[in-house]
């Protein structure tokens, strides 16, 4: 039996990874839930969020409080980018086949990640942790950095805020209605086109925020986008495409499977998460908490 403090540390690291994945996957799931499109570019938004945060920190320095400005600024920039892409390009593909939509989002991956290479090169970039959160706690013999704890609290906070908006506000009702029946919603006088743009903006904001917040923990490098997007796919598929709490659950499962998989089968932990994804698709294609598509 492994040392309990080690098990604890492992599950904390799994939880932290899960919160990041939740931030990214929730945007992906939102877009799928409403627009029925899998957005490959979502991982690239995440990577761009990290680069933007790095860039803003370069400009404004690392003094106290500046990191938060950088994170918010980066997320906002990505949100605007997402909104523009939806408004000027993606909108025209809604009536077309799924393959075209998928490939369009893949074209965005190619274009945007190469643009990032033009601006920031291929050297890895890193952002230092915000000075407020550089310390660490000792819990049950394991070291938990303050920053990780912040992420652990932020994840559920965003989940709750998200849930509140979706369930308790007018805009949230429209979003849920658009997911169910776009045409009827339009016939009732709601500006569905505008709504779709906003869905893209919110989802891109979450993706960009996830990227900005991970910048102090992992190096920002080209290629992180294509890696993270498949992870996010695993999360949304396990939880259920388009299901909000499903995404949360999927992220938690993914984080734990990965971190304990590394403990017990160090070589095949990546394998195990994809196997889990395949198993969920085979047994319950709509995911643990999702509903079957009509």
């Amino acid at each position: 039996m492994p040392d309990p403090s080690f098990v604890f540390a492992q599950s904390v690291s799994g939880l932290t990874a899960a919160m990041f994945l939740f931030l990214i996957a929730s945007g992906l799931s939102l877009i799928f839930g409403v627009l029925r499109v899998l957005n490959f570019a979502h991982g690239t938004f995440y990577m761009l969020g990290a680069y933007c945060a790095y860039q803003i920190v370069q400009w404004i320095g690392v003094e106290s409080g500046h990191f938060w400005l950088a994170a918010l600024g980066a997320a906002t920039a990505i949100a605007i980018l997402g909104g523009l892409i939806e408004h000027f390009l993606f909108r025209h593909l809604y009536g077309k086949e799924e393959l075209y939509q998928l490939l369009f989002t893949y074209a965005l991956v190619l274009i945007l990640s190469d643009t990032a290479k033009i601006f920031w090169g291929t050297q890895q970039k890193s952002v230092s942790r915000p000075p407020e959160l550089t310390g660490a706690f000792q819990i049950l013999g394991a070291t938990v950095p303050h920053y990780n704890l912040f992420i652990l609290l932020l994840g559920p906070a965003i989940a709750l805020a998200f849930w509140f908006v979706l369930q308790r506000t007018r805009a949230g009702r429209f979003i849920r209605a658009a997911a169910l029946d776009r045409e009827t919603l339009g016939a009732l006088g709601v500006n569905v086109d505008g709504l779709y743009t906003w869905v893209f903006v919110i989802a891109s904001f979450l993706g960009g925020l996830g990227g900005a917040l991970i910048a102090p923990m992992r190096a920002t490098v080209p290629g992180m986008d294509t890696d993270v997007i498949v992870e996010a796919f695993v999360v949304v598929v396990i939880g259920g495409l388009g299901s909000f709490w499903g995404t949360f659950l999927g992220a938690l499962i993914y984080g734990q499977v990965l971190s304990f998989g590394i403990l017990f089968f160090p070589r095949f932990s990546i394998f195990s998460v994809f196997a889990l994804m395949a198993a969920v698709l085979i047994i319950r294609p709509w995911g643990l908490l999702g509903r079957p598509l009509k």
Partner: protein, 327 residues
């Protein structure tokens, strides 16, 4: 003579035999790349174009084929004559197992499950160091032995005098030519017509008593088999087999080729492979930002020519034919 009566496929194949004589070593290299990808893209088109199943994990079978041939030839010392068909058979068997589950799902879930299986294959290749060489891959896959050609050359002198890579190119041409011919026979057969029926209206096919899933599975296995053959050829051509052969971005690349060439025509995907690889070679000498260009091409394609080159040419052709009748 009507242009459409000319046997374009065999003519192009015949012309391709003269590339090493006329062009440089570089052109032979590019042509060899094109030939292999043409088979890979055409195999995918059996699924996407003919059956209407969008697979996002077709690279899995390409990768399996490459590893099968590579392992057999490098580690087991099996001759190419056995290792090459083995690539197709092993990839086809994997496609049978994976496809069994995939065809039960529809649309986006089908795409996701093919992606999941491809990532499983990638993860195994990436981590199973003892067998696959892990992240480093398997370099130095030997060429097939061409010693017997020396004996042939004593009788037919024009056969001799090429480099090993040129002989390998000829081998690929012959094998891909045969594979494409087989694929063409398959999609033109009653079985192939039924695949098209399923694409157009699966429900209707079900009503007239067709076991849709079984047909889809058969298409999946055929596509996997030929992708495996392409992978087997590519591993030797590439002088090494690497895990990213099965990574999901490879699956997108081959989808782009298929789309660029045009999914509505048999030779479209092969044409897409030719255009994309040629463009790549041209552009890489000017800029390192090839993905940027590729993405831009793809966007233009999706918005302006959704039928790909094949679709655009067919449309132009029909127009040109209609005009004299109208005049």
């Amino acid at each position: 003579m009507r242009l459409s009566r000319i046997p374009w496929g065999p003519l192009v194949l015949l012309a391709a035999f003269f590339v090493p004589t006329v062009g440089s070593r570089f052109y032979t290299f590019v042509a060899n790349d094109v030939v292999i990808w043409a088979l890979f893209a055409t195999s995918l088109n059996v699924l996407v174009g003919y059956t209407g199943l969008v697979s996002f994990g077709h690279a899995a079978y390409f990768g399996i084929g490459a590893y099968a041939t590579g392992l057999l030839m490098k580690k087991a010392g099996v001759s190419f004559l056995l290792a090459f068909p083995a690539a197709g058979v092993i990839a086809g068997l994997c496609a049978l197992v994976f496809g069994f589950f995939c065809v039960r799902l529809t649309r986006i879930y089908f795409a996701m499950l093919t992606l999941a299986f491809a990532q499983i294959v990638w993860a195994i290749c990436f981590k199973w160091n003892e067998v696959t060489g892990g992240e480093q891959g398997m370099p130095e896959i030997p060429y097939p032995s061409f010693d017997w050609l020396d004996r042939v050359a004593t009788v037919l002198p024009f056969v001799g005098g090429y480099r090993t890579s040129d002989y390998y190119y000829f081998t690929c041409l012959v094998l891909v030519g045969i594979s494409l011919w087989l694929l063409r026979r398959i999609v033109a057969s009653p079985f192939g017509r039924m695949l098209t029926t399923i694409r157009e209206n699966a429900e209707r096919a079900e009503f007239i008593g067709v076991n849709v899933r079984r047909y889809e599975l058969a298409a999946f296995v055929i596509a996997g088999f030929f992708a495996g053959l392409a992978g087997g050829l590519f591993g030797i051509f590439n002088r090494g087999v690497f895990p990213d052969f099965a990574y999901w971005t490879k699956s997108s690349e081959v989808l782009i080729m298929t789309l660029l060439g045009g999914m509505s025509t048999f030779y479209g995907p092969a044409l897409g492979a030719l255009v994309l690889i040629w463009l790549n070679q041209q552009i890489v000498s000017y800029t390192e930002y090839w993905p940027f260009i590729l993405g831009t091409i793809l966007v233009i394609l999706l918005f302006v020519f959704p039928g790909g080159i094949g679709g655009a040419v067919t449309a132009l052709w029909r127009r040109a034919q209609r005009r004299p009748a109208g005049a």
